[in-house]
């Protein structure tokens, strides 16, 4: 399963809930799978999707907030796992699409095949951690997390390979304003 397919499966369960997506192909894939007003496409500031998600989750404790992260992105901001672990947002669901490469910049290795990110999250007090790789598992876990407290990490091992979709055509200001109006 490549990233875009995994995102399609996730959206089937997440539906209209807020998603903060990491820069590069993750945001582009999300935009092409299902553009919606509750998507915040972080088109720059690599590494910070989980931090943005944390900020929203802390201020909107009754809403489930999803982060679509990448292995390269989280490795750039590992401190975020510690800050999430110490502030303990129950409503934060941190999904990492892990293909062990920086696919957006030409498929250079990230090292996530050698360093288990899920173990770092575990040591950082994430309440539940799931490491999965199939459609069936994604569907099962996304149903399960409706009833358990976060912070939750779902690490989805995906295959390398990309289907290049359109660039995000909305302006950053429009992305922000629509997100704020609709969460």
């Amino acid at each position: 399963m490549i990233r875009k397919e995994a995102i399609e499966v996730c959206l089937g369960e997440i539906k209209n809930k807020p998603i903060i997506s990491a820069n590069g192909f993750i945001s582009r894939d999300l935009f092409n799978v299902k553009d919606k007003k509750t998507n915040f496409y972080m088109i720059g500031s690599m590494g910070l999707a989980s931090s943005i998600g944390l900020g929203i989750a802390l201020k909107k404790p009754r809403k489930k907030i999803f982060v679509f992260d990448g292995d390269g992105n989280i490795l750039m901001n590992l401190g975020s796992l510690a800050t999430i672990g110490k502030t303990k947002p129950k409503n934060l669901i941190h999904i990492i699409f892990d293909n062990s490469i920086h696919e957006s910049t030409g498929s250079q290795p990230t090292g996530s095949d050698l360093i288990p990110i899920e173990k770092i999250a575990k040591a950082s007090n994430y309440q539940y951690i799931f490491k999965i790789s199939t459609r069936m598992e994604i569907l099962k876990i996304l149903k399960k997390i409706k009833k358990i407290p976060g912070p939750i990490l779902i690490l989805i091992k995906i295959d390398k390979g990309n289907s290049i979709g359109d660039r995000i055509s909305r302006t950053p200001k429009n992305i922000k304003e629509e997100f704020m109006k609709n969460i």
Binding site: L54, G55, I56, A82, K173, I183
Partner: protein, 162 residues
Amino acid sequence: MTQEFQKQMFNFLEKKGIKNFIGVPDSTLKNFIKEGIRKKKIIIATREEEAIGISAGMLLADSKSLVFMQNAGFANSLSTITSLIQLYQFPLIFLIGWRGYKKNDAPEHTKIGKIQPELLKSLKLKSKIVNHQNWEKNCEWALTENKLGNSCALIIPREFVD
């Protein structure tokens, strides 16, 4: 001690509607941070860019935010400021402790401290230098910029070398 105004400054900004204070500790700002910790209103981030990301999330939830950091951490954050805060037009207040303001500050601070005004100018980030006499007026200025939807910076220079 003139730095005592920082405590009043924290309480003033909080009273005026700033809900979130996120950042990385700096000795120049320690009285501001101490008051925030006492009131359980501070989140200490691991890096300045992370603090900016968390505050952007809080602003997306329509909750007013300030980030605090040392000028060295501000310099670390330039690309996050341009590609997140300015790109999406987030109204964020920066509170920056300025090391290297005095020429005889510790050697690691002198070069980055010297270019601090040029960094602000290059970013076109409006700023005011804050001291024990003008802090209230400059906080009002920052709150007005904030209401207008602009990001801005309040700078507290390190006036002493210990």
